[in-house]
Each structure stands twice: as structure tokens, then as C-alpha cells.
């Protein structure tokens, strides 16, 4: 088992853990943040699989932009005085 394979497994398991967290967490913003973490971990796994194009795209679009619009949605719909 090479070090890369161990990294692969760690990344993969971490994604699943964060996935479950994202689904089961109470606060929506946490959910979104966990999603963003998963996305970042996905970028890592894409890099491990020699897919730089996909990694860049996922980083910019999947992780960055999607998280941004999630956060904006939550921000624009929060009730007055509420923290998101």
C-alpha cells in the first residue's frame, strides 16, 4: 500500500464522514460548509487520479461558486437579526 493509496482512502472516508455530517447537521449553513469541504476533498481526489482539468473546474465552479450561491441564498433569506 503506497502512501498515495492511504491518502486516497483518507480523503474518501473523510468525504463520506462529511457527507453524513452535511446531511445530518441541524444548521443549514454548516451543511453548506460541509458540502464545500467535500467538494475540496473531491478536488484532491481528482488530483490523485491525474485529472487536473477536472480538479480546477471542480475547485472553481463546484467548490467556489456553488458554495457562494448557497451562502447567498441563505443570506438573502435569513430572518432579521438571525445569524446564518
Amino acid at each position: 500500500m503506497t502512501i498515495l493509496q492511504i491518502v486516497e482512502i483518507v480523503v474518501g472516508v473523510a468525504m463520506i464522514v462529511f457527507g453524513i455530517l452535511a446531511i445530518n447537521t441541524k444548521k443549514l449553513i454548516n451543511s453548506v460548509i460541509f458540502l464545500s469541504v467535500i467538494s475540496m476533498l473531491a478536488v484532491v481526489s481528482f488530483m490523485l487520479m491525474r485529472a487536473p482539468d477536472v480538479a480546477i473546474t471542480e475547485a472553481v465552479i463546484g467548490s467556489g461558486l456553488v458554495t457562494a450561491i448557497f451562502v447567498f441564498t441563505l443570506y438573502t433569506t435569513k430572518k432579521a437579526g438571525e445569524k446564518i
Binding site: 457527507g19 453524513i20 487520479m49 491525474r50 487536473p52 477536472v54 473546474t57 465552479i61
Partner: protein
């Protein structure tokens, strides 16, 4: 290995769709599912000891062993499509929030 885990991640996404009733959570679950799917597809094209599919001055010949570029192209497309759908879903969620004041599907009045 990452292939198995990606399938598991897809299943986590489906689990989210099965158990959640909050719109944001549903969209998050969908995204998790898509990420798992994307990793799965990229993993299909992975070749052990393969190079990233770009010719450079270092790896300058097509005779070298590269990973499959086609699944990567597919995933690129899938990611962009995913963003489009997520944006649309969030817009819908926002619109629904405005009329119902909640993200919980079960709490919305009317049919």
C-alpha cells in the same frame, strides 16, 4: 479504492434525499450524490501509473501511458450541468421561501 468510496458517497447522497425534507438539505444531498458520481466517473478512466492527459515538454509523446481523458471530459460537462441545476434549485428554494417563509417542504401550506 477511491472508486468504492465514491459509490459510497453517492449512496450517502441518496440517503440524504431519502431522509431529508429541508429544501437546502435536499440540494446539498443532490450535490453530494453528484460529487460521488463525478469521482466514480473519473476513477473509471484512471490507469495505474498513468500520466495526466496533457502533453508537455516533459511528457512529450503520446506513446506514454496516460489516463483516459474521455471520462474527465464527461465529468467536466457533468460538473457544469450540476452547477446549472443547483443554481436553478436554489432560485426555486429562495422563491418558495419567500412565499412560505420556510425551507421545510412539509411545513408548506397548500398542496
Amino acid at each position: 479504492m477511491i472508486q468504492y468510496l465514491s459509490i459510497a458517497l453517492m449512496l450517502v447522497g441518496i440517503y440524504g434525499l431519502l431522509s431529508q425534507r429541508n429544501m437546502i438539505k435536499l440540494i446539498v444531498s443532490l450535490n453530494i450524490f453528484e460529487i460521488g458520481l463525478n469521482i466514480f466517473i473519473v476513477s473509471i478512466g484512471f490507469v495505474k501509473d498513468g500520466l495526466a492527459p496533457i502533453l508537455t515538454s516533459n511528457h512529450n509523446s503520446s506513446a506514454l501511458l496516460y489516463v483516459d481523458p474521455l471520462p474527465q471530459a464527461m465529468v467536466l460537462t457533468a460538473i457544469v450541468i450540476g452547477v446549472g441545476i443547483t443554481a436553478l434549485a436554489l432560485a426555486l428554494a429562495r422563491k418558495l421561501y419567500k412565499t412560505h417563509g420556510t425551507y421545510e417542504l412539509d411545513e408548506m401550506e397548500g398542496e
